[in-house]
């Protein structure tokens, strides 16, 4: 095999692997990404039942209803619109009324958002970034969300 031929084999292999990787990425990007929506967007865009989405907002005060079979219902709001959410399982430690939350799942035919995972992921300000952005966009962002935890060194319950 000449030097030139060897180089050709190498280049062919590289192109092959790169093409494979690119193909896999494009395929996966079509099928496996999930969009984030605020309650207002879910209502405005008429999200089709069954299509997966992430819903983010604040857990509405007084909306949590638990049953003894680990079924939980609560409402997620961004101040303008409210979406009812159902979930079966254990909620994360940081899940509370009035706090930011992200639920992943899909709408059912009755317009309930059936979540299969609920995240109360947070930074030190106890607010997911997407939720904070969505609230700011809706004009419901209050500066005291930061300070609630901040100056007193603890959340007043």
């Amino acid at each position: 095999m000449t030097r030139k031929k060897r180089r050709l084999v190498l280049i062919a292999c590289s192109v092959g692997v790169v093409a494979l990787a690119a193909g896999l990425i494009l395929n996966a990007l079509r099928d496996s990404i999930v969009f984030f929506h605020s309650p207002t967007e879910i209502v405005a865009k008429h999200l089709a039942p069954g299509s997966r989405a992430r819903l983010g907002g604040l857990v509405k005060e007084g909306s949590i209803v638990r049953s003894d079979k680990l079924d939980v219902r609560f409402e997620v709001t961004d101040g303008n619109e409210t979406v009812p959410v159902t979930y079966h399982g254990i909620l994360p430690d940081l899940f509370r009324e009035g706090q930011g939350v992200i639920a992943e799942g899909a709408l059912d035919n009755a317009g309930h958002f059936k979540a299969d995972s609920v995240l109360a992921k947070h930074d030190e300000k106890y607010m997911p970034k997407e939720v904070a952005d969505a609230l700011k966009k809706q004009g419901h962002w209050k500066d005291d969300y930061d300070k609630k935890v901040g100056s007193t060194g603890g959340q007043v319950q």
């Binding site: 095999m1 030097r3 060897r6 084999v9 190498l10 292999c13 590289s14 692997v17 790169v18 494979l20 990787a21 896999l24 990425i25 395929n27 996966a28 990007l29 099928d31 496996s32 990404i33 999930v34 969009f35 984030f36 992430r54 638990r66 003894d68 079979k69 680990l70 399982g89 254990i90 909620l91 430690d93 940081l94 992943e104 992921k121 947070h122 930074d123 030190e124 300000k125 997911p128 970034k129 997407e130 952005d133 935890v149 060194g153 603890g154 959340q155 319950q157």
Partner: protein, 660 residues
């Protein structure tokens, strides 16, 4: 006074770094031996001053000096001493200080242990190293000063995020940074080689131990982080494809590729240009990881930072070093002489295949991590790219790589014999098939992918053993001759075999946990029993307790198998008063390499408690494999041929080849 000393020491370190950038490089240009020698003094001095700054901050934490803003925000006087110390790097400012401490530490190591390096190369390496250090000293001093005072001083601090109050914080970040930042040495060597316009096998021999050491630390660091997340977050998962985890996985993948291509360069003087590019890319990915974690662009459990000025500053550092390095590469790489001809089927060819797949896999992680950020910046749409994406991209790319892995070490350099190697791997392949058959028979209609995963893992392990058996001519000669051959094998050969074997171990653990793991979620009242996988769990009640800075509710479970009690588990919920934050302390019961994992949810209005119980078969193998990989790397590092700066015994000379 102590914080001011720390602050001043950091400023002095910056001044020393600036000297170390300019003077040695000028010395190399003017062939002035005195100027070249300056870096050997400034590098250790820089380390001493950063260590002083770090010690000062630690002292403030230990003394709970709340007149320092950083201590006030992240500490509490009631916190146990260990967490007061680890809390130093449990926040943005402190962790950046740890970052530069490790950077300066590596600079000092090169200066002290690099006695055999050609002096001009060493001077240039230290000069590049100092430029990275200077950029990050400036970053800390301008945007993230940990020594800022708070007047008047509050009486009590806000405490550290309770999730971080764990032994994991003591181990994970320092190891991770040793890895991340350790790759800066390979980067500095690559830049120095480009400036000098020459590389040779000796260059690769100097770079490889540094890369290997960083890789070992990063491997262990990622594994410890994964185990920490597994037991601390209470979700029972060990890898979330979280952007912060990906940020550490990308340099690991590129570093693994670099490790292998440096072998080719050292032995065969081939792949020079590629190895240099990989060295640049690996550290660039480390910098990218620092940017992702430290700038606050991500939504993630790890992201502590939120100030945009920091993001812009790190982005500027990123652009300067990555952009500058790649421009230098484009300009100078054609100067480097290519050497070493080889056939596609050869050890070199196998290592190239390894590099292709590792870099392609790294690229998929890169896209999956950065695409959501780019899309949001361009169109405002928010998407999440989670496990399904990576299972569809990263997974398929790893399978051929893993399958090819046992072939590589058995192929000869220059021109290999694939049929001969396949023949020698026949036994390993047979064992793999046997494992598939045994799994199918044992499970009978379990998950379809599981048997193949087990087969692949067993094939990899058997392949690594085949490698050693071949090298010692086991069964082909007398046992005594084999043993004496085994004694004569270089440690790097043992290291390779061990690390490759370990990949199989980790894979087996991943397959076991994901395919056969079982989960039960229930509301339980005292006295109730539920069953999961031959185990009966009886909830016996809950007790309130108190720790140094938290209150806790600890539940008690009796675990029985066939009627006999085997263990008592005590999962708990802790409420940390200072932040009113709750953490879940999962109970882990280890049975061989399997684990039972119990974590608590909320107490229900009727007095029942929500419980999540997992049975996780083979799960410990995931981390055991990572530890074995690290040990394999360490074994290879201890090979005398690779010992830092030691010239090859066969060609030993009193002085290394002079730089021309």
């Amino acid at each position: 006074m102590i914080p001011e000393i720390g602050h001043y020491a950091l400023v002095l370190a910056l001044a020393l770094a600036v000297i170390q950038i300019v003077v040695p490089a000028w010395g190399v240009r003017t062939h002035d031996a005195v100027l070249i020698g300056v870096a050997e003094a400034t590098a250790p001095a820089q380390f001493l001053f950063v260590a002083l700054a770090f010690a000062a901050l630690t002292a403030c934490y230990v003394a709970s000096d709340f007149s320092v803003l950083n201590v006030f925000e992240n500490s509490h006087s009631a916190k146990p001493l260990l967490y007061k110390i680890t809390g130093v790097w449990g926040n943005h400012e402190g962790s950046m200080l740890l970052w530069v401490l490790i950077l300066a530490f590596f600079g000092a190591l090169v200066s002290v242990f690099g006695r055999n390096l050609p002096r001009s190369l060493k001077a240039l390496v230290l000069s590049v190293q100092a430029s990275i250090a200077a950029a990050f000293y400036l970053f800390i001093l301008i945007t993230s000063n940990p020594f800022t005072r708070l007047i008047p001083a509050p009486f009590e601090g806000r405490d550290l995020n309770p999730v971080l109050q764990d032994l994991g914080l003591a181990i994970h970040p320092p190891l991770l940074y040793l890895g991340y930042v350790g790759f800066s040495i390979s980067f500095s060597f690559a830049i120095a080689a480009l400036i000098e316009g020459r590389t040779d096998a000796a260059w690769a021999r100097w770079v490889r131990p540094w890369t290997l050491a960083a890789w070992c630390a990063l491997t262990l660091g990622i594994a410890m982080g994964s185990y920490w997340a597994y037991y601390e977050l209470g979700w029972g998962g060990w890898w979330f494809w979280d952007p912060v985890e990906n940020a550490s996985l990308m340099p690991w993948l590129a570093g693994t590729a670099l490790l292998h291509s440096a072998v080719v360069m050292e032995r065969r003087e081939a792949l020079k240009v590629w190895t240099i590019l990989l060295a640049i890319l690996t550290f660039s990915l480390s910098l990218l990881g620092t940017f992702l974690v430290r700038s606050g662009v991500l939504t993630s459990v790890h992201a502590f930072a939120t100030d945009p000025t920091r993001g812009v500053f790190i982005l500027a550092i990123l652009a300067f070093f990555i952009g500058g390095a790649l421009c230098l590469y484009a300009w100078r790489a054609p100067v480097l002489k290519q050497g070493g001809v080889f056939a596609p089927i050869s050890r070199e060819g196998a290592l190239i295949l390894n590099n292709l797949f590792l870099t392609a896999a790294c690229a998929t992680v890169f896209v999956g991590t950065l695409y959501p950020l780019a899309l949001e910046a361009v169109s405002g749409a928010k998407i999440s790219v989670g496990a399904p994406f990576f299972e569809l991209t990263f997974g398929p790319l790893l399978v051929p790589l893993l399958f090819a892995m046992p072939f590589g070490p058995l192929l000869a350099w220059k021109r290999g014999d694939i049929a001969g190697v396949a023949q020698r791997l026949l036994v390993a392949f047979g064992v793999g098939l046997l494992a598939i058959a045994a799994t199918v028979a044992g499970e009978g209609g379990g998950p379809i992918l599981a048997p193949f995963g087990v087969g692949l893992a067993v094939f990899i392990m058997a392949g690594a053993l085949t490698d050693i058996a071949e090298r010692t001519a086991l069964l082909r000669t007398t046992l005594k001759a084999s043993l004496s051959r085994a004694g004569g094998l270089p440690r790097s050969a043992w290291g390779t075999a061990l690390a490759h074997f370990a990949v199989g171990v980790t894979l087996l653990g991943m397959v076991g946990e994901t395919q056969w793991g079982a989960e039960a979620i229930a509301n339980m009242k005292p006295g109730e029993t539920i069953s999961l996988r031959h185990y009966d769990f009886t909830y016996e009640g809950i007790d309130a307790g108190e720790g140094p800075n938290y209150r806790e509710l600890a539940a008690k479970f009796a675990i029985k198998r066939n009627g006999a009690t085997i263990a008592t588990a005590r999962p708990a919920k802790r409420v940390f008063q200072a932040r009113q934050a709750t953490t879940t302390e999962a109970a882990l019961i280890t049975r061989g390499v399997n684990q039972i994992y119990i974590s608590l949810g909320d107490v229900q209005p009727d007095g029942a408690i929500a419980v999540r119980i997992y049975h996780k078969p083979l799960v410990l193998l995931i981390w055991l494999g990572a530890v074995l990989m690290m040990l394999g790397g360490t074994l290879s590092l201890s090979d005398r041929r690779l010992r830092i700066g030691a010239p090859k015994p066969s060609r030993s000379r009193l002085s290394p080849q002079p730089a021309e």
